[in-house]
Symmetry: C2
Subunit: 225 residues, 2 copies
DNA sequence: AAGTCAATAAATATCGATTTTATTACCAGG
DNA sequence: CCTGGTAATAAAATCGATATTTATTGACTT
């Protein structure tokens, strides 16, 4: 057997580490929307070289979390009500498309994956890893569409939305509504392969959250634009 | 006065130049799908440093034209029939969405922009810049949706599709069908603000081209996967 | 003969320093 | 007191070289 196989948690790479840190800092607001991102600052902050920082920032522009201004460096993407609303409306359209395809291709393996993802999410409520589990559940709903580009877009939009949750709620967990019941409904409908019901539940979930966030964003006046 | 002001078509920046060259080479097939992209090779090919090449490749991963394998470099994205079909179907869905929004927001300025874009495209048939003019016309149709993310996705998908046109036709211009008449129809319907007709014409345009390309791709057997 | 391991070669990732470009502060002329 | 231009400063972009990592080769064991 190989002498070292699992011994090494060896998935580092300065660039990837920088990418993950910066992404997290932007999503949670540690690096606020619109902020100038100076290489030298980030270099010392992350304790790494300029090349990995620069490359991580380039990768983040793909995710629309960073804007690159030629010859003038990088800045965290702006946040605005219009942007928030566009994200919400695109998510609704694209996720409905993906969910319908997923259900059309339904198999029992997919079903089981869904149930597991849902279970894990429920168990992690109020844990710091809830965010990841929540995303995993939502992506599991879509992954059976077998449409990698569409999945990628949905994942991107999901991430963009996270930032507004943090802006509105300061990263605090959820609101008064019974989120958990909404997830149960979505799972139930998906497992029954009832596309109409599943989409209705999913979109209602997004729209209710969206309306709540929009109200708070407006009240707190936290948008840069 | 500044010693050099306008004299220089000074929108270069080694990174941007490398980005544009590499993008073009991938779209036209000069760098074939799936090919390993070695930094050193590209560095000498483009006569620039390793940093700009690396950064350009990072940017191209956003466009899904390059794949990045951590610690193992970059390669040109794979091409496959499934990928081609996914692109076609997403384009149809997203462009319909965008076109309907554009028409819903129709103004005479937009209309005039469309007419101009269409005119320019017609004039450039069989010119090397036709490709750009064609894309400009298609994007002009969508730009009035005022949905930057959606526009970005449509633009990306448009570019991804170009590659398959080159694979199928060796970059040669169009086929037997009367492409020009199709464009006229789309323009006409858009100007009349008839969303249903415009979408029907646009999607038919894409689907006819798609079917033609799929047939040729199959016959030529040019797909790596 | 097939598979494993070690040594070598190739390529990537990263660093440190230099060059180029933008921004700021300052000063003279109107 | 404002305007336009210029020097000083700060930051970004790029280069050249080094350190790590992966891929390749060929000998060696079972």
């Amino acid at each position: 057997m190989n002498k070292m196989d699992d011994t090494r948690g060896r998935e580092t790479s300065a660039t990837r580490a920088a990418y993950l840190s910066l992404r997290d800092m932007i999503l949670t607001g540690a690096l606020p929307a619109g902020k100038k991102l100076k290489i030298e600052q980030l270099r010392t902050l992350l304790d790494t070289g300029a090349s990995p920082v620069r490359e991580a920032l380039s990768l983040l522009t793909s995710d629309m979390l960073v804007e690159r201004i030629d010859q003038r460096g990088f800045r965290a993407a702006e946040a605005s009500l219009a942007n928030f609303e566009e994200i919400l409306s695109l998510r609704c359209a694209l996720e409905e498309m993906a969910l319908r395809q997923s259900i059309a291709n339904a198999t029992s393996e997919w079903e089981e994956g869904l149930v597991v993802a849902h279970h894990r999410m429920k168990k992690l409520t109020d844990s710091p890893t809830f965010e990841d589990a929540h995303k995993s559940f939502h992506m599991a709903l879509l992954e059976n569409a077998n449409s990698p580009i569409l999945e990628r877009y949905c994942s991107q939009l999901y991430d963009l939305n996270i930032r507004y949750r943090y802006l509105a709620a300061g990263g605090e967990s959820y609101q008064s509504r019974d989120i958990s019941a909404e997830h149960d409904q979505i799972l139930e409908a998906a497992v029954q392969r009832d596309a109409d019901a599943a989409c209705a539940a999913l979109l209602s979930h997004y729209r209710l959250t969206g309306a709540y966030l929009a109200k708070r964003l407006d009240k707190l006046n936290v948008l840069t634009i």
